[in-house]
């Protein structure tokens, strides 16, 4: 396969933590397979220590100012460097990309434009498909992918375009302890990771569902909530501690954990990974990490829930994200079923290895890119 010069341009300035999320990891995995170079183009808004994980990747800092926004500078970058961009990766179905995408296609019609949608069904329904520049932007993309099969069906129906299913996965070389994790490492731990207390994450549901489930536990289980905590949730948690002093010691708010080794240790110890999200843009990056470590997934019915649990074979789905009782019931049932959790440890890891490995996904993208390039040549 031809070696590609790959360029990633986010719609907004990149944060350090995003370097190890799908928007960069998918292009990075592609770079490892068929890349000549990988350039991440962004306005630098902070230090990027995680760049050290991405061996071989270059970060180009855009010269932004008050009169030159991130996107304007990105368009100028494309105008100057289009010859060095064989594959341009965009992230998000954003109107901001319109001019940039058209500019690239005008300068490099034979170049490949890949759009990873990072979308949920609510957002998909709100997109301005009748807005001509936006429609032109979507038309200019050679490959478009979404992160959930449910979304794939919806978008196919609405857009009448080929939409590939590329889930958010895991880049195994960054998880050295995954391979030798065993079920013996697991403890009675329920884990969640994310922005604790954000409206989207619906964290109070997990907290109170845990309290309800606690009453049914035959063996003790702890709840660990990792991530920055909103002031609103801190208040809820403080009230919770006063209301349930016996349960409170079993709930741990760790705050944000940036040390990957420490974070992986939690995944390694947890038996259950719990998500209570109202919605997710695409699919949560933490899912594949947790499942890769053999955690059984309990999730609300977000767009990718069926994919995450392989139609509930490898986890459980609670339909209503606000139904605390139903979530509690599902949680206590899972906690009581040690046989399922142990069996699932291997099954879920296999599933992730086969379908959520960025290495494998990048090779699939490679085939699509190769096919698209050949098709363009013959036109």
């Amino acid at each position: 396969m031809k070696k590609y010069n790959i360029c990633v341009i986010p719609a907004y300035p990149l944060e350090n933590v995003q370097l190890l999320k799908d928007r960069v990891l998918v292009p990075y995995a592609c770079y490892r397979h068929f890349g000549e170079s990988l350039t991440i183009v962004t306005q630098a808004v902070e230090e990027y220590p995680y760049l050290t994980y991405l061996e071989g990747a270059q970060l180009h800092s855009l010269p932004c100012s008050e009169s030159l926004s991130h996107m304007e500078a990105a368009i100028a970058y494309v105008s100057d460097h289009y010859k060095e961009i064989d594959l341009l990766c965009l992230f998000g179905a954003r109107l901001e990309y319109t001019q940039l995408a058209l500019q690239y296609k005008a300068l490099r019609p034979e170049g490949i434009l890949y759009l990873k949608l990072d979308i949920n069904s609510g957002w998909a329904n709100a997109l301005p498909l009748d807005h001509e520049p936006y429609a032109a932007f979507l038309d200019s993309c050679d490959i478009i992918s979404c992160e959930a099969r449910r979304l794939q069906q919806l978008l196919c129906q609405k857009w009448r375009k080929i939409i590939e299913y590329i889930p958010n996965g895991i880049y195994y070389p960054f998880y050295p302890t995954i391979e030798n994790t065993t079920y013996g490492d697991k403890e009675n731990l329920i884990l969640t990771v994310g922005r604790i207390g954000s409206v989207q994450k619906n964290s109070h549901v997990l907290l109170y569902a845990y309290a309800l489930a606690y009453l049914h536990f035959t063996t003790p289980w702890d709840l660990v909530m990792i991530g920055s905590v909103t002031p609103e949730f801190q208040e809820i948690y403080d009230v919770f501690c006063r209301e349930f002093p016996a349960i409170a010691p079993h709930v741990h708010l760790t705050g944000s954990i940036t040390d990957k080794t420490q974070l992986h240790t939690y995944y390694r110890r947890a038996k259950i990974f719990a998500l209570t999200s109202q919605m997710e843009g695409g699919s949560p990056n933490v899912y594949a990490e947790a499942a890769g470590f053999g955690c059984t997934i309990l999730t609300t019915d977000i767009d990718c829930a069926q994919d995450m649990t392989d139609q509930e074979r490898l986890g459980r789905i609670v339909k209503d994200p606000d139904d605390i009782h139903a979530y509690a019931q599902a949680l206590s049932a899972l906690c009581a079923d040690q046989v399922y959790l142990e069996h699932n440890f291997t099954a879920v890891r296999d599933y992730i290895r086969h379908y959520f490995d960025y290495d494998h996904i990048a090779r699939r993208l490679g085939l699509l890119i190769e096919y698209t390039a050949t098709e363009k040549e013959t036109l």
Binding site: Q152, Q153, C156, I162, E164, R363
Partner: protein, 325 residues
Amino acid sequence: MNIIINDTNITLQTDDGTSSHILLTKPDIADYGNVTTRPLVKSYHLVRETIWERFCECVQEINEHCRHDIHCGCYLMTFGPLYTALLSNSQAKNILYYGKKEASSFLSSLQDFMTFLQADSSLVSLPLHPLVFSGLANGSWHAIVMDLDAGCNIRTVCDAITKVRKGGILLLYTALDAPADDMAGLLHHAVKTAFSSCTLYTFTMEPSLCELLYPYSAEALVLTYTEELLTHAAKVNSLTQNILQGEYLPEDCRYAMELLTTAEKDLLALYDYLEDPCLPVYANTLKEALMDCCIGLSDGTETQVYLDKLRLAAQIFFTAIESEF
């Protein structure tokens, strides 16, 4: 635009008076004022209004209400051939309109005139969707009026023509300088009438016209795509079976992928006609399973899981294809 009406003619004239066009000459029918004994005529006798008078009134109404609409001249010009069609016999007539909602005053006047002639006549305004004609019965409408500037493509126009009954008319109007390139060949078969910035194309439905235009219609498109689709599906099936039976060749995998991509495009083109809206995604899932196999088999490790997925995806896709076609 001015309208000049006398006892025998209705003439359109540009505001500056430099150009004129006879919209309609009063038909030479004996005892025209009492042309028919239809019930509606009874009512016009009651109000002492002849068909000609009512027609003139409708034309003037359009000119008054649509004065600032660039299609005003077009609306008026359609009235000439419609007048003849509506008075061709005493049966109730049905007319379709496909165009922008700005034409509401025109439609209101046309409806008024149609009802005046025959109370059971109907005028139906269709929503602007290129496939809207495909659900209608062939050869069932006396006339169809279409606004070419409302984004009509050749397929929509050909679909519309197939819906006109024998001897009926299709009227296409435009206020643009030139129609879209792909329309040129089709419009060559119409009678063209131009005045000021307005052009009217009139097709009269006859079997030879139908034969000429059928290949461009949605029905023909569906049949063509279906044929291609089934051929491709058969090839993919054969390639998939080969892979499942252990005869894996990377080029077969790529060829199947190519065929499935074409199938996906065909299915998306046919999407509005599909019974099963999941078919394009089934094709995509099969393509994905083939790619997974291609990767797994080239590595030579853990292939069984990908083969199982391929078997399942193939079964779902081919069952759906069989049931659909």
